[in-house]
Amino acid sequence: MRNALVLSGTMAVLTVCLLVEPRAQQAGANANANEVVVGTLAGKPVIQPVRRGVDYRDTISPTDAAMSGPVPRLPDGHPDLTGPWEGGGSDNDIGVEGGLKPGELDALLLPAARTLKAQRSKAIYGEPYIYCLPMSVPRINPYPWKFVMGYTGKGLQYIYQLHENGDAGAHRVIYMDGRPHPKPETLIATWWGHSVGHWEGDTLVIDTIGYNDKFWFDAPGTPHSEKLHTIERWTRISYGTLVNDFTIDDPDTFSRQVQLRFVARIVKPGVELMEYICAENNQIGIAGGYLNKTDASPIGIGGGR
């Protein structure tokens, strides 16, 4: 019996090693116990936590062999980025989730932005998301989302990004027809801004301006201004992994450009986006006695500038 247990235990360890270690060796990386190398991008390893809080709860495990399968392609040869995916953005701490050390991003905040974040952190009921307003870019939550590749007779003209929960019923459109951004002086700031996209090889590059300054990058309220300009570089490196190399360019908020990396995972077969009308029965604030109290959010919803 004991021998059988030892044998089965050894087999289990070997199985895990066979699934994980070859990629780790190939990439030359040393993943810790909670991390696994899920592939490479530009010759460098892409490392993922096996588990991170409640993120990725509907996804295939990164240690599953299916994750490393080939990238599906569309009839025109482009990678199919549809998903649905989970992860791939910020939620509780945009800096740490984006690969920086704790506090590293805050050190880049300009003084006014640092003050604003401090005010927001003390006013939990100021966050727009809890009132069912959009999360915007690059936020995600523990629910699936997808890119809808919008083909017409002219080819890929639009990509829509849909979140099951977090877009407040809005849709984000990324124009793929070659149009430029409107002139900044004519652009009205909106939750999702104005996004144009193009392919660089197998990477979808999305350039967005025209954001409002109301949404928060993460729960503690990391801010941005209406000068925010983001660049997303989405690369599906395998069947199960979609990398989002994310650039924040906001000279009114950060002392320099910020480069982050988020990683999304493919959901399990059968998981589809479901209806989620957030404002239907939102009872936030009642149990805590905050509803209708003027001190619930001294900065108002959003705590904008």
């Binding site: 509907d58 993460d218 029965n281 936030i284 149990a287």
Partner: protein, 133 residues
Amino acid sequence: MKRIVLVAFGLWSLSVAAWAHHGFETEYDNNKVVEATGVVSKIEWTNPHMHLYVDVTDKGGKVTTYNLELTSPNAIQRLGWNKNDLVAGERVTFKAHAGKVVEERAALDSLVKVGAPNQEIFKGQRPDNLGSN
């Protein structure tokens, strides 16, 4: 029938940090645990979160309706439950974290039917299970 138990939930409270953006610590009392048995009067399969209403009768005959907040109906369905798994009129025992100000508005921790005390049903707002959304 109803009892309020003050419990220091060390591990549990550690995981509550993940709740920050839905304000668990401002909405619910981490240390005030309600355990009670009652009759389900209403189930709301609504967004952003499900709500379960349970009528609890104390020894004096006074009825208190608890409004228990669960996670989203989408998450519950993905775990395999549907509207036929619990209906109004059934007797249940629940454990929940009371609202900080409105005590009978509570965050569900666990729920069983009286007839099946070892079979937990649905999932509450325990971040170690499902997260905050």
